[in-house]
Amino acid sequence: MGPADRLPEVVSGVTLEGVTKRYGDVTAVDDLSLEVADGELLVLLGPSGCGKTTVLRMIAGLEEVTEGEVHIGGRPVNDVPPKDRDVAMVFQSYALYPHMTVARNIESPLLARKMPVETGQAPRRLRPPERRERVAQVAASVGLTELLDRKPAALSGGQRQRVALARAMVARPAAFLMDEPLSNLDAQLRVQTRLELVELHQRLAATFVYVTHDQVEAMTMADRIAVMADGRLQQVGPPQEVYDRPRNLFVADFLGSPPMNTLPGTVRVGAGGPSLTVAGTEVPLPDALAERVPAGTGVVVGVRPEHLTVEPTGELDARVTTVESLGHERLLVCSVDGSRLVVRQASTQAPTPIDTPVRLSIDTARLHLFDPGTGERLA
């Protein structure tokens, strides 16, 4: 196969290189580099004000980039106007045109934009019958066919959300940018729509950049999660990896509900091998962890609620102070040597009465050790 046979790879991913956004003295996004692969669903996750929406708006072209470069489909787009970036955005408020019918709303991106229609031909505006066909097609795919003549005011929240999606899909953009699209839906509808969005992503095989502050959305939907805080990227990786090996205390605390338990500890090496002093008790430390942390180091010990179990042979002396029952599981809030630890327990296990002394066992292989000064992961 000669080089001529190889087609240039179609890249419709999004790349950010050292992107910074400053408003006067305030740095909203600080030196962010991130690659979103073609067809990937990347979730930008972070608390409000962390800069994740600003990143999305810079990709869309609604905000100028102060420093750095944004590429879409391998093409630098810093100076490309929003309409020519081949992206569609779903806004948190949906931003539908209230004076237009559903059909006109969905048709809107087709009116002004030129798009490739026939292969080998120059992009052009669609003709009215072509537009109607596309609108009908997209509306059918999200179940809006019956509602095409209504105005947004006559729709439910979930229906409006689907109109916003249909409007984003109609121009078949290379990348979809979604700014907390589920946050205005009630809890039940949110779960359902979450699934539909994942299915939509699989069907379209398009690049999705999805902004949310909801870690459950991030965990369930993402191919990869990018965690942001204070305008900086904290960690990027597949959901399970970010959950299992958080790179710092912020990520450890932000991902997981209830969050990871943290308490101070010290690493020691004795006759019986390495150990960790935590909550006044010494627990053996696996070599894999110990070899990365010199003996005598003070650390922040992180342990997820599911890695603590109530066992008569457990290492820690604890007292149950509160029990939260969630149906399928319960959360025991325990007091251990003045610290508060949350234990996750399947509700099939025998309940533990409040105020009784119990012993907790730590799954030491799943411990996380962080630097108390920088918060960075040690092991």
Binding site: A60, G61, L62, P82, A95, Y97, P98, P109, A112, R167
Partner: protein, 285 residues
Amino acid sequence: MTRRRREALLGYALLVPSAAVFATFFFIPLVRLVTTGLHQQNRTGTAERAVGWSRFGEVLTSHDFLDGVRISATYVLYTVPVGVVLGVLLAVAADRRLRGMAVFRAIFSSTVATSAAVASVVFLVLLNPQIGYFSSIDAFSLSDPDTALRGVALSSVWQNLGLTFVIVLAALQAVPDEVREAATLDGYGPVRRLFRVTLPLISPALAFLAVVLVIFALQAFAQVDILTDGGPVGATETLVFKIFNSQQPIDQGTGAIMAIGLFGITLVVSLVQFVLLDRRVHHGR
């Protein structure tokens, strides 16, 4: 007394204050107008005799009344469309986040605080044939019967501009940023965005302005009185001005009927506007 009755009495009692205000300032004057129209006074106002309803027909079809209607209608056409368009243009220009924009907004809205008399005096000077800044613009000359009404309209447009600007700007600022951004992403340029998204969204405010400006124009008096005193040769005698000029006791009946005529016209025009605009206007969400 039954409970129902007591509640009914209380209800009426609560209506008394507003009924009293309405009666004093609306119903009684209206009835007075009608009775004045039904009587003819003598030259000194010392005696009057009933002349009956036939005079209503005579006055309302008289050349004088119809001429007043024509001039007032022309005045509406001169002031309302231009006023709304200019207000929208100024407000669109001022609806940006730019340094120092507050100063421009204050300047643009300042005519709200200007009375018709002040505006008229300003334009009397500006249009003065000897010293006026606009004296060379013949299209607004106050001394030519063909253009005098335009000169008067100019001062009205200027004076109403502040109000139009404030209302349109407030409406523009209520348009969600995200909707404008969605339009930007959809590829709408500034002009298309204005006509296809922004203006439809602020149409309730524009409808309100249209109604208010028409009523202002139909009631304009101070401008005419100060700038032209109805002249030259009656070319700017709007209906209100003619009514005002019917102060002599002998003319009062005619003036009263004209006033009722104006009231009727204003009422009908406003109702028609509300109905028409309500059908075409998009209200909120």
